[in-house]
Symmetry: C2
Subunit: 202 residues, 2 copies
């Protein structure tokens, strides 16, 4: 079965839509997913951006929130609740994701995104993260302890560097085994069709 790397970022609004739809869409397309969390901060920083583009460009930001509401309705997802502040700090959630075995990452990622963008919770709050881990039957203390380890910090840093080396500049991004890079929730189905050999190639 073809595998698609699904690069996601916890502060990214469209990563939320993608994360909540990814497993169903991948199943429908007959592809496997490799969930890879990374940090946009260093990548935006290298581009000279000091804040989310949605904050830097208010007209774009206003439209993004309305678009999120429309997209959530279109896809039957929970209504959007805007986190305050936006963007959130996703470092702890990212490290916890990295600390989990790969098979447990999708469910945790979905839980984090729901808490952040459908419930407006503060995902940098260790109590919130602990509650989400416990809700999935994880040993929250153990996972959060591992998340503070040098190994996990280095692993997340390495993933962010790998994303940057691939030319990733935003999230979500989907990368196929033959190296095609699809940026954005809007390209998720295209990426899966490409991986499954069903896309018209240019």
């Amino acid at each position: 079965m073809a595998t698609v790397d699904f690069w996601f970022e916890y502060t990214s609004t469209y990563s939320h839509l993608a994360a909540l739809r990814a497993r169903g869409a991948a199943r429908a397309a007959g592809v496997a997913l490799h969930w890879r969390v990374f940090l946009l901060g260093p990548i935006f920083g290298a581009q000279g951006l000091t804040d989310s583009p949605f904050n830097l460009f208010p007209a774009k930001g206003a439209n993004m929130w309305r678009d999120m509401e429309r997209q959530a309705a279109k896809h039957g997802l929970p209504s959007i609740v805007r986190p305050d502040p936006f963007p959130q700090n996703g470092l702890l959630a990212s490290r916890c994701t990295t600390a989990l075995p790969e098979a447990k990452r999708p469910a945790f990622a979905e839980a984090v995104f729901r808490a952040e963008f459908a419930e407006g919770r503060t995902i940098s709050d260790p109590r919130v993260v602990a509650e989400l881990l416990a809700g999935l039957g994880e040993d929250a203390e153990a996972v959060m302890g591992a998340a503070r380890s040098a190994e996990v910090k280095a692993a997340l840093r390495a993933e962010t560097e790998a994303a940057q080396a691939l030319g990733i500049f935003g999230a979500p991004t989907f990368v196929t085994e033959d190296g095609e890079l699809f940026w954005g929730h809007d390209r998720m189905e295209d990426a899966f069709a490409w991986a499954a050999g069903r896309a018209v190639r240019p």
Copy 2:
């Protein structure tokens, strides 16, 4: 029949995809289109951008061109030929569009986009524009003369200001009669479905 305002810009790559697909998609959705050309330069300038974001952010630009090729293949459109330089100067073509009666604008706009992004021609060259007009049976000299008039220049400026007042920050953008703003070629079908009363409203 519901009408959707289709705001397009000649230097915008995704306006090309939208322009070549708009009439067919609108017909299929049962909506009418109001083709409105405007200039992104003043709007980007007000955002502090000094060049196309695709030039300012090279990783984003590289992905955009590959995405354009994939999207053209997906939708059965002509292969993409990158204009040099990019972005082109679309002022003359925009003024000629404004000088034409509204019913003649769609065919001219499609011809300009094809010349620019499927043939790599220089759309700021008056000979190219004259040839496109003549190819549509227009009196090229008369249209280009009108394009130089104070009235047409003012009308195009007014449309650009109207776009800015609507909160438009990029192209293409689709605006429905009830004021919903959909940004991007990726939202064209959503905008038409909304206008036709077939969208799930948030």
